[in-house]
Symmetry: C2
Subunit: 138 residues, 2 copies
């Protein structure tokens, strides 16, 4: 199956760029520095739908995103999650968390309403994240 | 650093057994079939604190737990998460989700109050999970 980004993920995010396996998205919610990694392969829903080789690649990309995001933002903790109750396409959240953020210490999923970035702020955030991840940017 | 299970994780769970890298725990909340994998190494908090080799092992163990838990329970979706806002010791949740469960489609973390297993039910659940994961059991 060929890869096509789920329309709901596309609506909720901005494209940061592509790592070798995953498309990197920025959640359009300025309350949390929040990346989403989507392996660019069709027909994936569960972690166990990937091959062993792809899983190793995915966790490396998630760890890289986690480390860079933490360094860039000075976060207290990074939250990583693959839920998929609403969007079944396999995707991995990598979220920088702060003790003063809008959901701490709870999870970000389902917490209140997203606060979209301004066009300017979105552009700056995408640029900063693409640079941190060594991507050309979107 | 040597491995010691965080006391809060120990209080909230039952031991299922050990995979090569991780201790496998059952969350003592009968609302959700819920495993927790804790890499048995000291001083870990973030995914990027592990070596590449350990990360590959961890994601294989998470995928195995995910697949076996889904098959055993007939879940609609497996949720995987490493949060650590409350317990900083690196641990990975693997949770079987159902469209009729107490938190669907939201996350299980922070959702309502745990409903502990009876002693009998806990024993049966630990035994079934240990068998599914090919562990000797606790």
């Amino acid at each position: 199956m060929t890869f096509a980004l789920d329309p709901r993920l596309a609506d909720d995010t901005l494209v940061v760029g592509d790592l070798p396996l995953s498309r990197v998205l920025l959640m359009n919610d300025s309350r949390f520095p929040w990346l989403i990694l989507v392996p660019r392969r069709g027909g994936l829903s569960e972690l166990h739908d990937l091959s062993r080789h792809e899983r190793a690649a995915l966790i490396e990309e998630a760890a890289r995103a986690s480390e860079k995001l933490k360094r860039l933002t000075g976060a207290a903790k990074v939250n990583i999650g693959a839920l998929g109750n609403m969007v079944s396409q396999l995707h991995v959240h990598v979220v920088a968390r702060f003790e003063a953020d809008a959901a701490w210490p709870g999870p970000v999923w389902g917490a209140g309403k997203a606060a979209p970035y301004s066009a300017e702020a979105a552009k700056a955030q995408v640029r900063a994240l693409a640079a941190a991840l060594g991507l050309a940017g979107a």
